[in-house]
Amino acid sequence: MTDPIPQTGPLIDIRHLSVPLPRGADRPFAVEDLSLTLNRGEILCVVGETGSGKSLTALSLMGLLPTNLPRPQGEIMFEGRDLLRLSRSERLRLSGRRLAMVFQEPIAALNPIYRVGAQVSEVFRLHTDLKAAEIREKVIELFREVRLPDPEAILRAYPHQLSGGQCQRVMIATALALDPALLIADEPTTALDVTTQAQILKLMLDLRSTHGTGILFITHDFGVVAEIADRVAVMRHGKLVEIGTRDAVLNDPQADYTRQLIAAVPRLAPKTTAAVLGEPVLRAEGLTKTYKTRTLIGASREVAALKGVDVTLRRGETLGLVGESGSGKSTLAQCVIRLVEPDGGEVVIDNGAFTGLTGSALRHARRKVQIVFQDPYTALDPRHAVGDAIAEGPIIHGLPREEAKARALDLIEAVGLERSAARRFPHEFSGGQRQRICIARALAVQPDLLIADESVSALDVSVQAQILELLAQMQKDLQFGLLFITHDLRVASRICDRIAVMQRGVIVEQGPAAELFANPREPYTRELLSAVPGRDWQDRPSQGQQP
């Protein structure tokens, strides 16, 4: 810490950074001719969709690029040195001391077999000569600073005993241990629940003001940008599209691409057009489900995922099921569609009992309810051509092969793909296209109820908007009931007629979307709503008209 540090100029100055990709990749450069600066005490958000090169930019700062990539070109000037031309020993001295990084998956970033305290202490053991007792004191102080409850207990805990948010706080504490000048955060809140995310974002803002740390914050979420950024850099296909202050970029974007991206972010405002509602299509009463885990010695642990949940849904209606991880919303969906057997309760679909059916009666009734999963990459059998996958449902339910194929072709067109897609295999399609295929497959059996389980959560925001539109359009045409599960209130507000808020296995509040957003009754609903990052930036007066 005795290095002379130049106090003028930007903290980090990236000049013409290019990260080449190996031959045979879909483009020659992952990052191409990127120049940007970050000042002391500034939060710069780098925003972009999948494949924009934002994460590789972060990794090249840390010298953590995958070893199969050719060497990056350009310069990254930091405290008078070029980070791309450091020797290994210089890099080791710098990493963790002057530069630190926080990753997306906090639980994966901690070693599961060591106590949390030992892992944080490691930074001090590597870079300082402090004694064990002094280190311990430092770590407790850090834990207090990142507002971990009961620091002494956490010191002795193992990573699996902490929640995701607590693990991320531990990671941030580790990153801040030696008071680095630059903190690189790669989607640090993406894997966290929205209320936890809000706390972590607030923590980052506080740390920036107390330590004056420059923060390079990688994210795909414009809400997060609105919440914490000083300046924003928008990237696409490895190139810088636009850079400017937060207000300038969010309210008056210059580049078309930025405008499209921002327009695609769903507003946190409930949809107002009332749907034409038909007769009830789903009635679930008193659904309960308890998961039991057995250990080797036979002791069991019980987790009540559902504690007597009632849901009703009518034809043409969209019910949003929102809640944080572990609230039981996915279990509810799986119980409704009977991929998981509920312990108790009753599901009636289209006036026919669905629970209690077994064998071929159950298989026959499965036509009535279909599901679209979160991850479009694993939801399609990689060895079946798309047309066969879509035609499979109708064939199972007795439609002649030729008619089923014809229906599949029509659906492929209806979900916005070329008819020729039928002969191609899932790996030839992008995530958004695959999700379209999954929707076509689900709709091929003409279900009365469609469950969308986080179906747009894994997609980029522009693709997300298209899929939501597709779902709404198909629902209008086919009049099925849609049970839409999401953790994202913006998405829910865009598509749902009614919203049910779940917490710890019960529905704490439900009602028409407009009413629920305008005056939430339950404190938990209020908490969820207020935790949505950048919840009002789209409606600020300075916002102007959106295209």
Binding site: A379, L380, R441
Partner: protein, 278 residues
């Protein structure tokens, strides 16, 4: 795609040659496997002063080694193939059953698997052969019993993880019955792991068959197998080494090639390794 490496190419060529020799080998020799030429007993191979009539020499009752080896190769390969297929199909079926039913069925099935895995197979084989006497059918079934438990364990594991995949759950939600789910969707997706296992058990079964035949408990005369020829020559090792060395070398080459090919297949099919090479 990377170029196939030299070892893989050599291993596959050896296997192709071995199969070709088993199928077409008889064109190389005018003698039948049972033809005895008592005047030409224990003749050395042609390159060691023997006659051109018996290029690889003759055995103790003057039978042509070429004809013997071809017949032995036929027997060893077909017994190993049948045994491998029986074990693979049976074991895989058990694994699928366990993964489908879970619960008590799974525990009972897997108990049998553990039971089989904890007994030395050669002892089971010796006991059964001693008890029921030797017949071709029993012997092939015995070969099939070897290694089924590894398929059962493997299949159960890969099926459990494949069933948890969203695509399998989506097919289930479409209303597909278990037959369609397992045969059309899960089996093709887990087949690569099972095929690799086949290449690993095949050489083991060849070795098992040759060991039993060497001990005189396997293939009985007038049928012959590589192991039996090898055993036949054991009394003549100092005077007529060729009786044992030819079949021994064949066994060695075939099992080694099969194992190498299995390794190459595993490297190719392992998704972890695949991502690294692209």
């Amino acid at each position: 795609m990377s170029r196939p490496n030299v070892i893989t190419v050599m291993a596959s060529s050896i296997l192709v040659a071995a199969v070709a020799a088993a199928v077409f080998g008889n064109v190389f020799t005018p003698h039948l496997v049972t033809d005895q030429a008592l005047m030409s007993r224990l003749q050395p191979p042609a390159f060691m002063g023997g006659s051109a009539e018996f290029p690889l020499g003759t055995d103790r009752i003057g039978r042509d080694m070429v004809a013997r080896l071809v017949a032995g190769l036929q027997m060893s390969l077909s017994v190993a193939l049948a045994g491998t297929l029986i074990g693979a199909i049976f074991g895989t079926f058990v694994g699928f059953l366990a993964a489908h039913f879970r619960g008590l069925t799974e525990e009972i099935l897997m108990m049998f698997v553990d039971f089989q895995a904890s007994l030395p197979f050669i002892l089971i084989a010796l006991t059964l052969l001693a008890f029921f006497g030797n017949s071709m059918v029993l012997f092939v079934i015995l070969m099939g019993m070897f290694g089924w438990e590894t398929y059962a364990r493997l299949a159960r594991g890969v099926v459990l993880s494949a069933r948890a995949q969203p695509y399998a759950r989506a097919v289930e939600a479409l209303g597909a019955g278990p037959g369609r789910l397992y045969l059309r969707h899960i089996l093709p997706n887990v087949a690569s792991a099972l095929i690799v296992q086949v290449t690993l058990t095949f050489p083991q079964i060849i070795l098992l068959e040759t060991s039993l035949s060497f001990l005189g408990l396997g293939i009985q005369p007038p049928n012959t197998s590589l192991g039996q020829i090898l055993g036949d020559g054991r009394d003549y090792l100092s005077t007529a080494w060729w009786i044992s060395v030819w079949p021994g070398a064949l066994i060695f080459l075939i099992t080694l090639s099969m194992s190498l090919l299995g390794d190459a297949l595993r490297d190719r099919l392992d998704p972890m390794l695949k991502t690294r090479t692209t």
